[in-house]
Amino acid sequence: MTVVSNSDLVAGTAAVPQASAGSHLSIRGLGKTYGGHAALADVELEIGAGQYVVLLGPSGSGKTTLLSMIGGFTVPTRGRIAIGGKDVTALPPARRPTATVFQDYALFPHLTVEANVAFPLAMRDVARAERPKRVAQALDLVGLAGFGRRRIHELSGGQRQRVALARALLVEPEILLLDEPLGALDLHLRRQVQDELKALQRRTGRTFVHVTHDQEEAMVLADLIVIVHNGRIEDAGTPQRLYQRPATRFVAEFMGESSLIEGRVAAAGEGRVTLETPLGAISLPGKAMAGAMGTIAIRPENWLAGPRPDDAVTIGRATVIDSVFQGATWRVRARCQGIELLLRLPPDRAVSPGDSLDLSCRERQMVFLDR
């Protein structure tokens, strides 16, 4: 699995980019402009086969536009899309090796489950005798064996989604596109379906591209997360890498929570930067120009409160504003030199507003962000 993204190249913090010859989905220079407004710009993406890819971003970020362009429903203003080495930019949805599961499943209400799933076969004029067998296989795959005769309105939300999946997988697409498929389901069902989707992807071995705004969902499902923000790719990588070493402020705040400490670069060189912050000078690995603005991001669970361990760096003394017990941790807001910090402390470290905490952090758990 390889990823090339602009931010990685600039920040130099991510995996070494490799242009792979066997890339399954290749997007180059993709952009879409509506009237003067650019919904998407400069999208570069290379995805290997068999990955579960999640396009993650807030509403209006352009992730759905990107999905729509991969599926062929929206024509790009510039750029090319190639699937399996073949340029598909000019192809309509019917001729692309993709299949889409739409947000509210788009099942044909006037047809039975069986007729719905068999629809792509009918469109390809597959022999009628052939169809029941393949439909049964597809329904089996999603765990709906025997549901063929039912009408759509008799099905629950989860069942409808499975029918939509069966129908899409029937055409054996190279890439399965899913547009916020879990949005309509309640929380409990959502978790269950997430597991089923992941298992389905493993079972079929196909590339799934899944759009969502829910970062927890992305973390559960994805082999590769692509973060889309304001029409551009902010960052792309494994859930682990994105969480531990976000490339930008947006990613640091969108994926989980962070404390952000801003400052000016006082000195830079040999792979380290020193930032002048309200909390004092902090030195950590990174690359920057002297005099530029920068940010240090620290995950709440990486704060150390109390006597400083040897391998940690002192940050400062903070005053607790409030703390909320959340079962596995205490979620604590504290203020240090006027900056609000977010910490997670172990369940036995109860604190009260007004308490003082000596905060430190291990250098490798601090992330330097230049944007």
Binding site: V75, P76, T77, R78, R80, T89, A90
Partner: protein, 293 residues
């Protein structure tokens, strides 16, 4: 090399446009041919004079001048406007209570049945329905026959063949139409508004005038506009029930064609009729737009 991407977008946009125009085209062309053209013909014909069934003479506003000068024709116009206005007011006064009762006082189960029943006679033939009113109102009809049989009157009342009969005939039709439109409008009002009003201390009349009536106004205004416009342009009801003493504009137009063969004059009168409708539309549109804010 495959098509450049910028071209793709242009091609896709063009294809959409062509498809859209192809689907919309037939209906538009049909309307142009069989609606717009006749209207244009009327406009043009109104500027000429009718001479033994053909149009001739020099173009001008002679027909219009004659129309506004001739009392008998002008009176037809004022009759039309007057009767349409009266019809609108009376129909609203009768339809609103009925719609209100159906929307708020009738149990939900019976609402649909209630409104369907209220509108059912709509589906009798328009011509026959006016005729039915004739049966009711004529000198030898139901009302007079009953009253005479009961000994309450000696000679039949002159109800039929009058403005009153025309209005009755109109109102009967438009009460059904207005009940339907006002009912639809009332039913869409969130009942929580009324609950909130009551909660804040409004009595039933206050709640009606300050909450319900304003909210239902768009439905009322569009219904009233529809009534006025339809009533002004109607020939059948005045012709059957109105008698020949006071004519409305459509009747006058009809006689221009059937008696005088004067298509040009009839055209001019048609243009005047359309102008009146356009004015009514502008008035209603301003009202409606204000309400949408």
């Amino acid at each position: 090399m495959s098509t450049a991407t910028a071209d793709l977008e242009a091609i896709a946009t063009r294809r959409q446009a062509v498809r859209g125009l192809a689907f919309t085209g037939p209906a538009v062309l049909y309307t142009l041919a069989f609606f717009a053209t006749p209207l244009a013909v009327i406009l043009i014909a109104s500027l000429y004079a009718s001479d033994a069934g053909r149009l001739g003479g020099d173009p001008g506003f002679g027909n219009y001048a004659r129309f506004f000068a001739r009392d008998s024709l002008l009176v037809a116009l004022t009759n039309s406007v007057r009767l349409a206005a009266i019809t609108t007011v009376v129909s609203l006064a009768l339809a609103y209570p009925l719609a209100y009762v159906l929307a708020f006082r009738v149990p939900a189960r019976w609402q649909r049945l209630g409104i369907v029943l209220a509108v059912l006679p709509f589906w009798t033939s328009y011509v026959v329905r006016s005729y039915a009113w004739l049966l009711v109102l004529a000198p030898e009809g139901v009302v007079n026959g009953t009253l005479m049989a009961l000994g309450l009157i000696d000679t039949p009342l002159r109800i039929a063949y009058s403005d009153a009969a025309t209005v009755i005939g109109f109102v009967h039709f438009f009460v059904m139409l207005l009940t339907l439109t006002i009912f639809s409008s009332l039913v869409q009002i969130n009942p929580r508004y009324l609950l909130a009003a009551a909660d804040m201390g409004a009595g039933p009349w206050t709640a009606f005038f300050r909450v319900l009536l304003p909210l239902s106004l768009p439905g009322v205004v569009s219904g009233a506009f529809m009534t006025f416009v339809l009533a002004i342009g109607d020939y059948v009801t005045p012709a059957i029930l109105g008698g020949s003493k006071s004519l409305v504009l459509p009747q006058a137009m009809f006689f221009q064609i059937s008696r005088n063969g004067d298509f040009a004059m009839a055209s001019a009168m048609a243009v005047v009729l359309m102008a009146v409708m356009a004015i009514a539309y502008l008035a209603a549109a301003r009202w409606l737009r204000m309400d949408r804010v």
